[in-house]
């Protein structure tokens, strides 16, 4: 069993990702952005902890 990932630190993540993506997060916006990323992480956790078969395709249908 692999170890659990380290606890998600949304503030550190926002600071690092903003720099990498070239996005300006002004000091007065930072709290809101961090709170939103934290909420998204909580939503993602709900899905990530739910087992899905490897063979399950993603939903969007591309028709060639």
């Amino acid at each position: 069993m692999p170890a659990d990932p380290p606890p998600f630190d949304p503030a550190a993540y926002v600071d690092a990702a903003a720099a990498l993506l070239g996005l300006e997060v002004r000091p007065e916006w930072r709290e809101g952005v961090v709170a939103n990323l934290q909420a998204t992480a909580a939503a993602a956790r709900l899905m990530l902890e739910f087992p899905l078969p490897d063979e399950l395709d993603a939903a969007p249908v591309f028709r060639a």
């Binding site: 070239g22 300006e24 939103n36 998204t40």
Partner: protein
Amino acid sequence: MTDPATATATEIAAAVCAGRLTARESVDAALARIAAIGPRVNAFTDVTAERARRNADRLDAALARGEPAGPLAGVPFAVKNLIDVAGLPTRAGSLINRENPPAEQDATLVRRLEAAGAILVGALNMGEYAYDFTGENVHDGNSHNPHALGHMTGGSSGGSGAAVAAGLVPIALGSDTNGSIRVPSALCGLFGLKPTYGRLSRAGSFPFVGSLDHLGPMARGVSDLALSYDAMQGEDPDDPVQAPRPVEPVAQDLDLGTDDLRIAVAGGHFARHGDADCFAAVARVARALGAERRVEFPEAARARAAAYVISATEGASLHLERLRARPQDFDPATRDRLLAGAMIPAAWVTRAQRFRRWYREQVLALFESVDVILAPATPCRAPREGQATFVLDGATLPVRANLGVFTQPISFVGLPVAAVPVWLDDGLPLGVQVIAPPWREDLALRVARRLEREGVAKAPVAAL
């Protein structure tokens, strides 16, 4: 017919067809009411008066020559301002996009409604880039709930809700990614139709989340929903995501009744997370329909979470260059969420899309034993404008993210829904979602029609 300014589309079209009302009289009445009452609800961002009068005169001349009247002859309508109107910049509720050149042609759905005789009278206020459940907008001002002006319309199709509830137009188009037709329909006391994902063309509309975006009508009567929905159906080569479905008209079947339908109430997620009023509204509808069974959408909370992740990511991806170049020009309520959305790891999104496939299989299986499912549309009545939090199920939660707690898990798999307005008392209305299997808009509308006929659901013009 009552006052043409506040009549239903069905009444107006019948009057125009019978020669009792001209299209020009219908349009002039709507324009006069928009001028007189519109500013109080802040529904319109653009009024296309000259175009409307020109088209009305053209229609009247055609009728005078004996040409056949379309099913929406002389019916004024308006569209959420993310839908292209030739000659207007498609602002999508934003400051940035209104600097774009004007749209060169109308969106497909506008053209189809006009081909059926309807007449566009303007474009409607909305939450910025449709990332909104409140109807608030920092650039154009909030849309105001016509039934209580200090309260939210709901969003993001807030101007659409305000315009129809105030009796400015009988039909408005909205978009619904996570609930943006159903939430304002509920809070403004209207009938709304979110068709099956892929049913109606989205060509000529500004996107929010391609995986989840739908367009559809809002109205004060079920016939009006059906007439406009039927007029908008049909394949459109300009929308590559639209599903290859034949036109399947519903208007002729509205009065078939519901005796042959197995109707259940959604439990689990849909029986928590709301206040007593929203469940009382569902109970009233269930009682009227004799629906006693309960069913559960499996893992609905996870479905909502997955819709949330996909919306944040696709929305942010769409706006990434604008976020880089002009973050200060976004509505603050939208900016924080889009900036966060731009940073979401790809693995979360792919997982959400794979979960969507799993959830779809479960939901389709559910519909093997039931034809229609009832659920609340919103967790409460319209909050006050500016209200940041509410208490649901004992928890204090942000209004902005949670008004869609019951709509999000349904649109996530693209199910067709008719939102029906229920008035428990003299206060503000609530909405109930009448949910059908994919491609069965007819079933949802038949149920809505029965509720309307029996007086359980109604959408009066607000007293303004």
